[in-house]
């Protein structure tokens, strides 16, 4: 039996900056995981991934990452995606640095 589909977000890296980005429901790319579109349907997920992959001038390496609904929007379920969302744990660099400077 095929494994049950779990909710996903489309994520990639920005072509110029290289940082982690997520596809939002309005087709824009966001740096905030909570603003990503949480995709609960498998066919829709594949479609959104294809749409993302076509944007070769904006992004690199789009893929579907597991996520779950949270109080403020989608949250990662795996520690790898959590690190991608936040940044490295040895310095306050990456997304956490950007957030601290807001």
């Amino acid at each position: 039996m095929a494994r049950a589909f779990t909710p996903k977000v489309v994520t990639a890296n920005d072509l110029l900056e290289g940082d982690v980005i997520y596809l939002a429901a309005n087709d824009s790319w966001t740096r905030d995981h909570a603003e990503a579109e949480l995709i609960e349907d498998e066919a829709h997920a594949q479609l959104r991934l294809l749409e993302a992959q076509q944007q070769a001038l904006t992004i690199v390496g789009a893929y579907l990452a597991d996520a779950k609904a949270g109080p403020n929007g989608p949250e990662p379920t795996h520690f790898r995606e959590d690190f991608r969302r936040k940044g490295p744990s040895n310095y306050v660099h990456g997304k956490q640095e950007a957030l601290a400077n807001v």
Binding site: L16, G18, V20, H78, P88, N90, H93, G94, K95
Partner: protein
């Protein structure tokens, strides 16, 4: 040190011009990512978890102060103020922007450095003994051979799109400080019974998911045959190495599947074919390169200032005892600068630290620096009387940690804090182990003990050959760490033995502590190192210490 000639400079400028145009074509859409990726990789540019990463080669770990200053400039101008020295004598920048990379490469080009073939399925940066040219036990300086190999392998038309990467190391010391037996091909400089210098060739070593110890394919080659022989080895592997499965593509698998006799026969046949085409140009080039590596004008003079500081300053004495190695010239020492301050990221140096090391090299150390595969920086030639002043300067920059070869001198790959391939973090594990044993004040009592940590099975952190190896994995969505014991990265190389089930992130440091306490309990005295104890008693007592619950069940 090797200085680029007009050809080298023009070659690199042209290559950088090409890459700049490739980046522009990627950005304007003329190149797809699939087309661009092999091009950027061949120029050292990766895309990691949070950003691009530029891996710059420090060929055979040798650099001068101007080059170190440029590494600092890159860190400050285009990155976040630091760089990460790797286990293959490279430096990695974790935060460059795609548009800036061509400028970074041009800046490197001005001081004769590049990022060519630091990635991709090519012959990678040639590594060497980090004490090359200085060690008391050296047969011959390995750097001229390493430079010859660098020039030969750079843009070698036959070896640009191989089945997999190919790593070469060269060492000329009696002791192996370059992990020769873990390389695809290693050149070991030796003397025969007649007192002649020659080259022993090993192939098929490697770590990764299938760790193998290299085997000798040729005992003694004269210099005139060396380059042709290496070319024959790479050529044979490039033809018969597997391309159906990237995990079986490295030469260690080819060797394992064909056997050393078969490979040797194929290499001999290939060598016979190509040797006549090496008509002596390589030998002339070698002589030219060798002249670049002439000794500096070593200072003479007393070592009274060193002796006075050694006898009066316990902090200096502790540093001298752990961080200095024997130099071949009287009155001199090799000083290793620890890039492993307790609690800091192994191998990370700030721009300020790099500048200070460059300045020290300029003032005191004949303008020479080395990077070790153990992720430290070395001043290869220092007159002993300059060491107290050097130590004071290092201390002011947080660079005077006295821990070389000790438990906190940990090799750690970037792991999941940066690397897209990683399955778990390495850096915080290394930081916590170092801090813990520093708090316990046990480090110097424990003595020589190498911990090596990798954040995935690709083993960039050399965990297989650590006395204590730690491998971070993803077990059902949680970080989990496997321990191996008894690995050895020297000429008596051995792959560590897996101790048993893995440990969770918050259990791994206590587990290492239990191993170390077991060692302190069972060693025959402070002279018996961890590895010697392990070889004497085997895995069992350490396993008992690691898994006390399992022991209770058995009892």
């Amino acid at each position: 040190m090797y200085k680029y000639n007009d050809f080298d400079t023009a070659f690199l400028a042209e290559r950088n011009r090409q890459f700049r145009a490739q980046v522009e074509r990627r950005i304007d859409g003329s190149l797809t990512e699939d087309e661009f990726k092999p091009l950027r990789l061949m120029n050292g540019l990766y895309l990691q978890l949070h950003a691009y990463m530029l891996r710059v080669a420090i060929p055979y770990g040798t650099l001068n102060s101007a080059q170190m200053d440029t590494l600092a400039l890159l860190a400050e101008k285009w990155d976040k103020g630091y760089g990460h020295f790797t286990t293959r004598q490279n430096i990695q920048y974790n935060w460059p922007k795609l548009k800036d990379v061509p400028d970074m490469l041009d800046a490197l080009g001005k001081v004769g450095m590049h990022a060519i073939q630091t990635s991709g399925n090519t012959i990678r940066n040639v590594t060497a003994d980090h004490f090359a040219g200085a060690a008391a036990d050296e047969v011959e300086d390995p750097r001229p051979i390493a430079e010859l190999i660098r020039q030969w392998s750079t843009d070698h038309p036959e070896f640009q799109f191989m089945g997999r990467k190919f790593k070469i190391a060269v060492s000329g010391g009696e002791k192996d400080r370059a992990v020769l037996k873990a390389h695809d091909l290693a050149v070991r400089i030796v003397k025969n019974d007649a007192g002649e210098t020659g080259y022993q060739i090993l192939i098929g070593g490697g770590l990764g998911r299938t760790p193998m110890i290299g085997k000798v394919i040729h005992d003694f080659l004269p210099r005139a045959d060396l380059l042709a022989y290496i070319e024959a080895v790479v050529s044979v592997w490039n033809q018969i190495g597997r391309r159906d499965n990237k995990y079986k593509a490295r030469i260690k698998i080819t060797l394992h599947e064909h056997g050393i006799e078969d490979i040797r026969a194929r290499v001999d046949a290939r060598f016979a074919l190509i040797r006549p085409t090496f008509e002596g140009f390589d030998q002339a080039l070698y002589e030219d390169i060798k002249a670049h590596f002439a000794d500096p004008a070593f200072k003479a003079g007393p070592t009274d200032a060193f002796d006075a500081a050694y006898n009066s300053d316990p902090v200096f004495r502790a540093w001298a005892d752990t961080n200095l190695a024997e130099h071949r010239v009287d009155g001199h020492a090799i000083a290793t600068i620890s890039i492993k301050k307790h609690g800091a990221t192994p191998g990370d140096a700030s721009a300020d630290q790099m500048r200070e090391m460059a300045e020290i090299a300029r003032e005191f150390a004949y303008d020479e620096l080395r990077i070790s595969h153990e992720q430290n920086v070395i001043l290869p030639h220092v007159h002993k009387n300059d060491l107290p002043a050097i130590h004071a300067r290092l201390k002011a920059q947080g660079l005077a940690t006295a821990n070389i070869g000790l438990i906190s001198d940990i090799i750690a790959c970037p792991g999941m804090d940066y690397c897209a391939l990683a399955t778990a973090r390495s850096i915080p594990v290394a930081e916590t182990i170092a801090t813990r044993f520093d708090d316990l004040k046990l480090e110097h009592d424990i003595g020589h003990l190498q911990i090596k940590i990798s954040g995935c099975i690709n083993a960039c952190g050399h965990h297989h050959v650590g006395h204590i190896g730690i491998l971070g994995l993803d077990r059902a969505g949680v970080e989990n760490y496997q321990i191996t014991l008894g690995g050895d990265a020297t000429w008596s190389a051995a792959v560590g033995e897996r101790a048993g089930p893995g440990f969770a992130y918050d259990e791994i440091v206590p587990a290492v502590e239990r191993i170390v306490h077991a060692y302190l309990d069972i060693r025959q005295g402070p002279e018996e190192t961890f590895l010697e104890t392990y070889r004497r008693v085997g895995l069992a007592p350490f396993k008992a210490a690691l898994y006390p619950e399992a022991q209770k069940k058995v009892a």
